[in-house]
Amino acid sequence: MSTGFALDAGLVLDAGLAALVLAVAVGAIVAGTAFAAVVGFVTYGLLLALVWVRLAAVDVALTEAAIGSGVTGAVLIAAAARLRPAEARSAAERPGVPLRLAAAVLSALVAAGLAMLVLLPSAPAPSLGPAAAVHLPELAIGNPVTAVLLAYRAIDTLLEKIVLLLALLGVWSLAPDRFWGGAPGQPHAAQQDGALALLARLLPPVGIVVGVYILWVGAVAPGGAFQGGAILAAMWILVMIAGLRDAPATGGRRVRLLLVVGPAVFLAVGLAGFVVADGFLAYPASYAKPLIIAIEVVLTLSIAVILGLLASGPPGRERQR
């Protein structure tokens, strides 16, 4: 606790961090090219992860760094590269001053409304935290975030994974008919002696261990399926970009199986809840922890494959049969 008006080092750090986040956000918006905007966005995501750490929300920080900044950054860079030929044309079509002014005013109003809610809270701020925490020991999951995500909010978590699958289908549907089921894009040129190839050989053994560890530790400490899956996906993307292994055909049976196994097992356990527990997505009390860990493991696999294929883009080659 800070005493009176004494200059608190943490407060100075937070204020500097907040100013930096705002500055980088403005920089990303006014950036001249799509590539510069993406670089700004990735920086913004990493700074935001630091903000979440300062708020003691390490689970959110890990997710923000891995997904919000990392994998999304890779997807956006690929999109910026695809859009480059059309960039000059779309820049000429940018909206007029009145429209941009209206957007700015609207955004400022939303920001002001949120700021008011934060600065003038109805004391004490309403919270379901204590009520949720009462039943958590029954699950024997030490990390309250994982417990809430897979118990109270299991339906949200399930739908979230299905949304990821739908997003991948959206990307795939950009491909012409003759490429359906084929491998994404063109193979990256392999440079067996390059720096990238070296990194793609050295880093994955470390990254895979870290990803599995993050998944496993998610039961008792910050971590979990999403963060672990994103790290595994990043390792796979690195290997594909370096050209060491080509992306698989999107129509392959093994790929399709890996894509759906996570949500399918989650759904199956949820339906089994009707028979062995109190209803949909309810766990039998004595098996709650092993079931949650099993769901997390298959979800991690599916998330890694979904994210890796999302970053690879739509199919661009005819399927080899």
Partner: protein, 97 residues
Amino acid sequence: MRQVLDIFTVAAVSAGALFFLVGTVGLLRFPDPLTRLHALTKADNLGLGLVVLGLLPQAEGFLAGVKLVAVWLLAQLAGATVTQLVARAVRRGGPPA
């Protein structure tokens, strides 16, 4: 003993911060991409290295220290690779428009 270690931490982390500052000034002031990369690597290698070295005596146990060193090594690996890639892109035809 505790005090000596604390003084060592402050000195090493300050020296690390100085390298970050110098690296940033170089990034902003140097004239072309290759010299700017040169400035950045100093912040990565020596700056982060000194900060990690300074934090080692404060680490809670042996494993936490190993994690700190691992962070430094991974940052080195990533930094060196990215520097190579950027430098290669510059040699091929300048930064992307």
